[in-house]
Symmetry: C2
Subunit: 324 residues, 2 copies
């Protein structure tokens, strides 16, 4: 059984040897640029770790893992157009470098290419894997649409928000894990359990992302603290606070980022003061811990010897930045 | 064996009963709008006609035909963004009605949905069909990229142009036909022949489209004559004329549409005068006839009794607007 670093190495080496056509250059160069631009390879790693835990063939898993990573990068390419995001992983986004038409079309080609790589799955498993992949891909689109819809909605409930992030981000992690289980010939029950493990983990990760944006250190976050507050983003902190706040406090939460008499630091302090008063950081931290513990406890229910789930535990801890 | 009208009926009825999710509305409504917006259903019809000619199951063919039509409509959705096209089939385009973000994301969902429908192909044939479908889908993206590249190129050769339209439009017709042959259990040789039949037909159709734009009647074309000339588009007429013209005439071809001292009618007359002098309409007409005849003659080489290819002949004649 390979550990997380070995899996990542194997995957990077596989990616590096994929040959895309050279022409037309403006179609394929952005794909190479996007795929070689780093990223933590979270989804393909998990897919391969799960496959390996069940004793499946990592050679079979590699092209499928690449399909998942290609799909993920395709969503980033198109999201960057929709969000007018000019920077991705510290470099100019494809959208910024080549313009929106190239980003649209290269993204399209990436999505099709992800099916080309999926097509290399063992033929006997292709039908099943394609089903999981396609379902999760559609859900990601649904999540992205809800996310855009929410921007212009006055009121979004916590439940709606959690559903949105489940679709937009967790489902891709969960589907990847499940495909790994299918490749490892896990039982139907274990496929579902592995899906659930990754889904909980994905939700915990996303909630932690929200929490760190307001309460992390700049070092943990990799960017300046408070960005979500300054953008007036509907995060799980904001929506939980909204649902608990008095009318007066709710008005503060809603309008602080628009208040031109406040500096950025004051806006952030003002919103966090309300969060603190309603104990929001503690509440979200509890939810994260509950989800994280639930994910780990699902591993105990798998039809696998506990030593075979060791790397899946480490994966979860690494993802959440937690020590063993 | 069903004739072209019966096949079309069957397909429209199948499409009409497809249920898409209701939410999120801004993701799925544009898909319904696009799919119910008419169109000649050329590609799914051909797929089903070929399948039927080989005695394949039309029930098996229906979801695959729908996948091809969904993919085609997805390309239109994204092309309309890239071309800033506000009208599609006489109605506002999705891009014009909902904006570019919705058009990007709904288009993405359509492409994924086309794989969902493809997934309903008979499992034993899924691997092969997915391969043909994915290859043709990538080629369509390549064709679209070349088409965009050509707009800003000074010089495009006739060969490059024919390669571009083959990728951008013919390959989708040819791949659809080939998938129909696979569904009908045609031999490998016949699959290739059917592909070639549809490829030649697609090229003839595209060249005829170019020809009608300058030399058709408004009734045949469904829009005003001369649009390509006024846009300065690199059509097969223009590129063939360019390759034959003297330096002086080439300058006229290159600049007439930009000449502000000419009315639209004068610009059109000016370019057509050069075309006529080099006998371009006659030349293109010959190429169209050669391709059309070649397509029909391929039908004679199939491992099928000639009466089974009757509807494929009619399909070709209908597509080209030719009487028997």
């Amino acid at each position: 059984m390979k550990n997380n670093e070995e899996i990542l190495d194997l995957f990077e080496n596989y990616l590096a040897q994929i040959q895309l056509p050279e022409e037309p250059q403006r179609l394929y160069k952005p794909i190479l640029y996007s795929m070689s631009g780093g990223g933590k390879r979270i989804r393909p790693s998990l897919l391969m770790l799960v496959c390996d835990a069940y004793g499946g063939s990592l050679q079979d898993a590699l092209p499928v893992a690449a399909a998942v990573e290609m799909f993920h990068n395709f969503t980033l390419l198109h999201d960057d157009i929709m969000d007018n995001a000019t920077v991705r992983r510290g470099k100019p986004s494809v959208y910024a470098s080549w313009g929106d038409n190239v980003a649209i079309l290269s993204g399209d080609a990436m999505m099709i290419y992800s099916y080309r790589m999926l097509h290399q799955a063992p033929p006997a498993k292709l039908h099943r894997i394609m089903d999981i992949f396609t379902t999760m891909a559609l859900q990601v689109c649904e999540g992205q649409q809800y996310d855009m819809d929410f921007e212009s909605l006055q009121k979004v409930s916590v439940v709606e928000y959690m559903n949105m992030i489940e679709l937009k981000t967790s489902v891709l992690l969960a589907g990847s894990a499940m495909i790994g289980a299918v490749l490892g010939d896990a039982s139907e029950e274990d496929c579902r359990r592995i899906y659930r493990y990754a889904l909980e983990l994905g939700l915990a990760f996303q909630q932690q992302d929200d929490l760190l944006d307001s309460y992390g250190t700049q070092e943990e976050l990799g960017k300046r603290i408070g960005g979500d507050i300054l953008e007036g983003k509907k995060t799980c902190l904001m929506l939980n606070a909204m649902s608990r706040a008095t009318d007066v406090d709710r008005e503060i939460l809603r309008t602080a980022h628009l208040n031109e008499s406040l500096s950025d630091a004051q806006k952030i302090a003002c919103v966090k003061e309300v969060y603190d008063r309603y104990d929001i950081p503690h509440l979200i931290n509890q939810q994260i811990s509950t989800r994280f513990d639930r994910a780990l406890s699902i591993l105990d229910t798998l039809e696998l010897a506990s030593e075979r789930t060791e790397h899946l535990r480490t994966f979860a801890q690494n993802l959440m930045g937690r020590k063993k």
